[in-house]
Symmetry: C2
Subunit: 210 residues, 2 copies
DNA sequence: ATAAGTGAAATTGTATCCATTATACCCCGC
DNA sequence: GCGGGGTATAATGGATACAATTTCACTTAT
């Protein structure tokens, strides 16, 4: 069967959410600002109903807070926020590693990401890094876990394209360590390493946003 | 300051979601059924706008699935569903235990739950059990983690009031074990026990829904 | 019998309208 | 001048109606 990109677009509420998400993460919309339904609807060129739904989505993602009868205030990257975010990610990604070890999933895609990252330097690190994590989520066999992690990623992690070389190198080494544990099918080891990996990048992030 | 219940009620969309949630969990609405906006709005005595949002909430909770242009189909308690749910809970609750140990939070409320559960037998087990877990989430100091676990609980765990004595006894013993580890401020021990506790109740659940 | 065409029913998005509520402003008394 | 209270304004939350799109089932034609 042909493998073509579907013509049908995502529902408008999703597109609206995506647009707002990008604007918030790139700080195009600044922290503390409050978004009104009507003005954002106008800015997006749509009506308010899907905007309302988009607000729900963003609130779930932790990017905005819906104040009673007062609209959506954009949440920033407070240290507290970052810490909470990464602690949750650490727990879930560690669990994903554990599950991968236990269900003996194929590691092909994951290995490809690591190799690719080695060969291509830290140039398009961001993309490959996400790919690495994403494929672990998939391999966990827990679709809901995978969904939750995607949402978390959208909520914050994606916002910070780390381009610093030193970081990329350190991270790459850790990826290789995790892959090794996954190959050895060692649940405890793999999850522990992943935990450490994520908590370390949390510390990295905290030094920049405090 | 006086501690009174706020007069203001929850938004209608939340009430609608709660009502539907209960109906689904008690199997008042059967698995596989599809809900239409208008009929559920009529049944709830509200208009379709909040129902639409309630559907989003329930979809996020994993109780229904929103098919493109085709409505909301009620998801059942498939073994796969249960497994995914409990694996995630295990990871997050274990993390909560770890955090409680690390931040040295006060264990007063948690201890009260355990003591209360001992004295009152397995009569109102369900409520006290939830209280025990809930207070651990709170003590973790991670508000977002707490919210996510509440949502998960609403999504499935709450549905199955375990009244079987043997289960309550086993569970109670495990609670005491976890509390012991929390008192000792042993992150690894506490999180490992909590993990086991939840995965065991998963097995328990699976024997009933397979 | 298979494939296309048709139509009913539902969601999705649009457009308003009303009620409730939160906030800011102003005025008044002290 | 300062604080408290009332009022005005603006935005949400929800209701209602409607257009557009999509899905699915049923029918029909080859």
């Amino acid at each position: 069967m042909l493998n073509l990109k579907p013509v049908k677009l995502l529902p408008v509420r999703e597109q609206a959410a995506a647009s707002l998400r990008e604007a918030i993460i790139t700080q195009n919309i600044k922290q503390g600002e409050t978004l009104t339904l009507e003005s954002t609807a106008k800015a997006l060129g749509i009506s308010v109903t899907p905007v309302r739904e988009a607000f729900q989505i963003l609130a779930r993602d932790g990017l905005i807070e819906l104040a009673q009868n007062r609209g959506a205030v954009v949440l920033g990257m407070t240290p507290e926020n970052i810490r909470e975010h990464y602690q949750i990610r650490a727990a879930l990604e560690a669990e994903a590693c554990r599950l991968v070890c236990e269900n003996g999933a194929d590691l092909g895609e994951i290995e490809r990401c690591v190799r690719h990252l080695v060969s291509s330097g830290s140039e398009n690190y961001g993309e490959l890094n996400q790919s690495f994590h994403y494929n672990i989520w998939l391999a966990s066999g827990n679709s809901r876990l995978s969904r939750m992690l995607s949402e978390l990623w959208n909520g914050l992690s994606m916002g910070l394209r780390t381009t610093r070389d030193e970081y990329a190198k350190k991270s790459q080494a850790e990826h290789e360590g995790i892959l090794g544990m996954l190959r050895a099918r060692d649940p405890e080891g793999a999850s522990a390493l992943m935990r450490k990996h994520i908590l370390r990048s949390m510390e990295d992030m905290l030094t920049r946003y405090e």
